[in-house]
Symmetry: none
Subunit: 401 residues, 2 copies
């Protein structure tokens, strides 16, 4: 019996509201022994007040020592075991550019490359060709036609683009055509299960036509195919939690991840104030709101301690607009840590705060990595967060008599 | 390899004594921010003294956010993964009234109901008929005879009674006959596996005879059958831990749960003092004693903070009688939290204290939710408690060389 078997079975409906506020990459590191993290250095009066009436702890996105990407990081927060549910690279790439995958679609990350006269690869990324040059090339591949298959070609950035195949009987388990070396020809696509044989046939036809279309192009005369992936089968929030769930995000990746678990993508906000307005305007229509804030991550990835601290303060200043709505359960967390000291996602557990009328208050009066270490939630796997949210919202019945 | 594979393999016999003291529903909640829980408010000098020479922590009965019933709560404490081992509703109901299920028995929860002239249900619970009226009706069903099957009919309370079928080849996987609606007839029982086909035939014969017996009754002229369940297959304490185990409980439910894992039910105590006497009198005959105290749960369920606090103090006052016996390992815990604030079982982790000569003392000098948060056991799943008990009793050898 897994957690979703439990949440399905114990699901209880009521009129409670849950808000999950994700400050991407929230956790950090001090830059020297005895120093403060970004969150400790930031002035966060609203988070500290919320901590006083909440319970906090540190969540491990996957397992101790594992640094997650955005996909597994968010799946964990949404209560989906990130080791059980995996989003293939192609599907994540399509999701990241806002492409709405349908059931049965297979998405493929493609790299433009260059071939010599013998058909051997000379540059696996076509010299990281500029987007202005690569986007029209990708668009030129839209003329490819294959009987019975709908084909989407979407430029991404530099040498990268995405191909999505839509049609009956396509499996996603196909090996990359990128040989990971130069001086050799691209590989043929190879299925690793019988259900993906048709995908291989389609991919081969695509490659034949693409080679013809691109053959005289100066900057990139072919492309490889990598990370073939079917749309992942994720049960929806409605099905596993009985929640009408909405996502209020600015960036396509986070809208896409939310869409994969069946959330409605609402509003068209471009900043926190607009996100708060979208939540307010839709308050009566949903039980659960996922609000995503990107810049605690991007400033961490830039290695900019001061900027991350500033963005954390911006996030703090936004909190009261959500609390005004009197949600029954508010959670503040991140999908992983992004310490500016490392300029990268990291494995460090993530400060997590939950406030409700029936949480077991833990005497903490601030919210940061140090206070979370003494918090009532202890250290836990992020995948348990949704169960805690539902319990605090009175949305889970008793297990067994 | 699961925990019981380990405990079987590493099992070491000695003369140590382990006492597990379960204050049902022990954990609580403050009723306002900054307030105290019932256990924090109670004056518990004996528990505090024990804490000084013990190690404490918070146990999750099932998983974070999951509120267990008594069945899964106790299975966890007994070291049986409550997600792996499940006690069907019928078996738990029989257990709760003290019925001794045997291997192969199938237990069924039954509800008296009323039918109209067309055989449609008019009240699924026969107006919650008074026990004084329903008990004789249940007893009248004892005249039912089915070839090759021994039948037990036991009144429970109001509209509820239990039927136990005993005979060869009975499986417990049968759907309820309660249609969960009025204005329609009861459903026929349906087997969900071939091993339960015979149970369906027996149940149908039972229902035909019951209909005849009850047809002229004013208050309840029929009954439904729900929660069919075979006696759960649980390995015994003797087999998995090498322990001669005894239970000293007042209420049938807890005696029954202990019996399911092979404990002897000893004495006939009706309060803590008598329970202490039973433990004393049987001290030499057993390695392990499970002592159950109900009233920290029932007062919590009543939503009565003061009464729960008082009952906690009663429990504290009983501790010295156990300590006088010099057990090698004493554990104090609950099967779940029952905060008076919620008047219900909850998901909050449970204060747990273990004292032995070789525990790693953790500097705590009191025992409550807050001190447990800083305790040496940290937060852990309750199913690990028995392994800790055995280790502290010197009853587990080394794993691997």
């Amino acid at each position: 019996m897994d957690t979703h078997d439990l949440t399905r079975k114990l699901n209880t409906k009521n009129s409670s509201k849950i808000v999950l506020l994700v400050a991407d990459g929230l956790g950090g590191l001090p830059h020297e022994v005895g120093g403060q993290t970004e969150l400790e250095a930031a002035n966060t009066p609203n988070l500290d007040a919320l901590a006083t009436r909440g319970v906090q702890g540190l969540s491990h996105p996957v397992l101790p020592g594992i640094s997650p990407g955005s996909g597994p990081g968010h799946l964990g927060l949404f209560g989906y075991d990130p080791l059980k549910y995996q989003i293939g690279r192609g599907a994540l790439e399509a999701t990241g550019i806002g492409f709405e995958l349908q059931d049965g679609d297979v998405a493929i990350r493609c790299n433009f490359c260059t071939l010599d006269a013998d058909g051997n690869i000379t540059d696996r990324r076509a010299g990281r060709i500029a987007t202005e040059l690569s986007a029209p090339l990708a668009q030129s591949l839209r003329q490819i036609q294959i009987a019975g298959i709908e084909i989407f070609v979407e430029p991404v950035k530099e040498h990268r683009f995405v191909v999505v195949l839509r049609g009956p009987g396509l499996g996603g388990n196909v090996l990359d055509t990128d040989p990971q070396a130069t001086g050799v020809p691209p590989l043929d696509p190879v299925a690793t299960d019988p259900a993906s044989e048709k995908t291989v046939e389609v991919a081969k036809q695509f490659l034949v036509q693409a080679r013809e279309i691109l053959k005289h192009e100066e900057h990139a005369n072919f492309h490889t195919m990598r990370g073939f992936a079917a749309k992942p089968k994720l049960p929806t929030f409605a099905e596993v939690y009985g929640l009408r769930a909405a996502a209020v995000a600015v960036y396509p990746m986070y809208k896409g991840l939310a869409r994969l678990v069946g959330m409605d993508i609402i509003g068209n906000a471009s900043n926190l104030d607009e996100q708060a307005t979208v939540v307010k305007e839709n308050w009566d229509k949903y039980d659960f709101f996922f609000v995503h804030f990107k810049y605690t991550d991007s400033t961490g990835e830039d290695g900019d301690f001061e900027a991350k601290k500033q963005r954390t303060e911006d996030f703090d200043a936004f909190i009261p607009q959500i609390l005004e709505l009197n949600p029954d359960v508010v959670i503040v967390t991140g999908d992983h840590s992004t310490p500016s000291f490392l300029s990268n996602h990291s494995w460090h557990p993530v400060p997590t705060l939950l406030a409700s009328d029936c949480c077991r208050y833990d005497q903490q009066t601030a919210f940061n990595e140090s206070t979370c270490l003494s918090g009532g939630l202890g250290q836990f796997e992020a995948k348990h967060l949704m169960t805690l949210a539902l319990a605090n919202a009175g949305r889970l019945g008793k297990y067994g008599a």
